[in-house]
């Protein structure tokens, strides 16, 4: 059985690897397509993003991770829209990975301190089972999200948008915004204290 410290390291390593991969992806895009101005803006955003992520890792102040993800997303999407070209499939893949990064960082927040402290051989398998299940479900959900997103992108007659009337565009936008609002402020189903 591996010592708990190794498990904790794995829990920390996974989101950091994803973050590093996304940064490298953005850097490659910048190198390939961006002009010097793009370089300057993009690399500044990336440096700040990496600094935020490093600060979050060093101080366990996990709110900095949100800033790091936002800046990374901003650098990638901005660079794609302005210079490389808005190819939907890689952009959707990037966004799905960015969402996955957020989910894994929240799992890291839960499991990292637990693995640092738990050494009881009876408890450790239960923590392992929970961690394995949580990561598996997260990765599965991300894969499903990507596939469904691709299907939706194919199925929705997007070409209508360019030629459709203002009424169609506004109606569809209102529907989307309403859906977003429902998802964002869905009523809580939490119960009160239970003994």
């Amino acid at each position: 059985m591996a010592p708990p410290l190794n498990r904790g390291a794995w829990v920390r390593l996974l989101p950091r690897t994803v973050f590093a991969a996304l940064v490298v992806w953005t850097v490659i895009d910048l190198v390939v397509a961006a002009p010097p101005l793009g370089w300057a803006i993009g690399s500044s955003l990336l440096i700040i993003s990496v600094a935020c992520a490093t600060w979050a890792a060093r101080t366990s102040a996990f709110t900095w991770n949100r800033a790091a993800r936002t800046l990374l997303g901003l650098a990638f999407v901005g660079e794609r829209l302005l210079w490389t070209g808005a190819d939907p499939v890689p952009m959707m893949a990037f966004i799905v990975l960015l969402i996955g990064l957020g989910a894994m960082q929240s799992l890291e927040r839960v499991f990292s301190p637990v693995y640092a402290a738990v050494s009881d051989p009876e408890i450790l398998p239960m923590v392992d089972a929970a961690a394995f299940g949580a990561y598996a479900r997260t990765l599965g959900l991300l894969a499903l999200t990507f596939v469904v997103s691709l299907l939706l992108a194919l199925l929705v007659p997007l070409s209508l948008f360019r030629s459709a009337s203002l009424f169609t565009a506004v109606t569809l936008s209102v529907v989307l915004i309403a859906l977003i609002a429902i998802l964002a402020i869905a009523p809580s189903s939490s119960r009160g204290p239970e003994a």
Binding site: P88, A130, A153, L158, F161, S188, P193
Partner: protein, 421 residues
């Protein structure tokens, strides 16, 4: 309940929709699809609310500062299976957790039970509560959770450490009629020889001095110095302005330690001891004898938290109205303000015998900083000022200027034995 990640995803999707409308760029609208899809798919399987039975056991419910207390939590799931359950037991910030952690993340089937332990070490005295237990059923997507706060609390009493001052010579200056251990300079019940007198009918045979009887050719009886007890009132200055240093090593905490040690020592000598604590309210324990009184004083001291601005005038008033006259007053104060000095002068002017035990605020502050030449100069100046103040007070009372890094007994050794009246 939604997490901030869910709100962020919804916001991002909204921003893409708005940007698509603004720039009439349909590909931006496509970017809103993944966050929305993730939100919808994650919402298809809501997380169950945790329904748990939790029992907490502690190895000690009364532990002194620095002693380890083992805490065991038994958690049983009475609701549906929870794939990711995060448990957190609230530990007061005055406790260190040297072993284990009051935090666990596990999967728990219906009816399954888990037991986990951790150790806490109290760093300051007081009455503390462990709990409540927070149970969160988390969605692995990181988008929502259900929380239950289980109001299970366990009280741990942390008494201040009891210093050994058995060899210190502290006793009340004035005695009363009760039998005690203080030689009273009056004839009475005791063990110290005082003198001889003519035998009177009723004298105990064992008190007849046979050598003197043989020499004087008449019955002579030994007389002994009566041993009596007295009253002591300990006044603890726990006002906000008397606090110097971090919570665990503040002048108030040291004062509490001194108060307990002095109370134990004086009660041990069969004297009555009372207590007045000057803080947000004016707490007092009326003088009484014995071990029960020590526990009463201990309970009062455990609850002391510095605060408030009660003037010493009120203490003097309470002393004169509610406490036995001619009680010895032991004032425990860092002597940081003129009010304390005036109070001592006022009490002695009324004929009250006062002893001062003063945890030095300068030494407490010095312990907080590393060696520095500038600080050293400041320290020496402050120390000179304090020595002057202490010298001035010694005209009115016995003063033990106590460096809290040293044992209290060392400081009390410098106090002269009080003259008896």
């Amino acid at each position: 309940m939604r997490t901030s990640l869910a709100s962020s995803l919804a916001s991002v999707a909204g921003i893409f929709v708005v940007l698509a409308l603004l720039f009439l760029e349909w590909r931006l609208l496509l970017l809103a699809i993944p966050p929305l899809t993730y939100l919808v798919l994650a919402g298809l399987r809501p997380v169950p609310a945790p329904v748990l039975d939790v029992i907490r056991e502690v190895s000690e419910d009364r532990a002194p500062v620095g002693q380890e207390v083992s805490v065991t939590l038994r958690v049983a799931n009475r609701g549906p299976r929870i794939d990711l359950l995060e448990l957190y037991d609230a530990v007061p910030r005055e406790f260190a957790v040297p072993e284990g952690r009051p935090h666990l993340a596990i999967a728990l089937r219906n009816g399954e039970q888990v037991t986990f332990s951790y150790t806490v070490v109290p760093r300051v005295k007081g009455q503390f509560q462990l709990g409540p237990v927070t149970a969160r059923s988390l969605s692995p997507s990181g988008l929502d959770y259900e929380e239950a706060i289980l109001p299970i609390r366990t009280t741990i009493n942390v008494p201040p450490p009891l210093e050994d001052i058995r060899r210190a010579r502290i006793q009340p200056r004035r005695t009363r009629a009760w039998v005690g251990q203080i030689p009273s300079r009056l004839i009475g019940l005791g063990t110290e020889f005082w003198g001889l007198r003519e035998y009177v009918p009723g004298d105990e045979t064992r008190r007849i001095n046979w050598k003197a009887t043989a020499r004087l050719d008449r019955l002579v009886t030994n007389e002994y110095e009566g041993e009596r007890s007295g009253d002591v009132v300990i006044v603890l200055d726990a006002r906000q302005e008397a606090v110097v240093g971090p919570l665990a090593a503040s002048t108030t905490e040291h004062g509490i330690r001194a108060a307990l040690a002095i109370a134990a020592k004086i009660l041990d000598g069969r004297n009555r001891v009372g207590l007045i604590v000057q803080r947000n309210v004016l707490d007092w324990v009326y003088p009484a004898f014995g071990r029960k009184q020590l526990f009463r004083i201990l309970d009062a001291l455990v609850r002391v938290r510095p605060g408030g601005e009660w003037s010493f005038r009120h203490v003097s008033w309470v002393l004169s109205r509610f406490f036995p006259p001619n009680s010895q007053v032991v004032l425990i104060s860092p002597l940081l303000d003129a009010d304390a000095l005036r109070a001592v002068i006022d009490l002695t002017a009324r004929g009250t015998a006062v002893m001062i035990v003063s945890p030095s605020p300068i030494e407490v502050e010095r312990a907080m900083y590393s060696e520095d030449p500038t600080l050293d100069v400041a320290y020496r100046l402050l120390r000179m000022e304090r020595e002057n103040a202490v010298s001035a007070l010694r005209r009115f009372a016995d003063v033990a200027d106590w460096n809290p890094r040293d044992p209290l007994a060392t400081a009390l050794r410098g106090v002269t034995r009080w003259p008896r009246h």
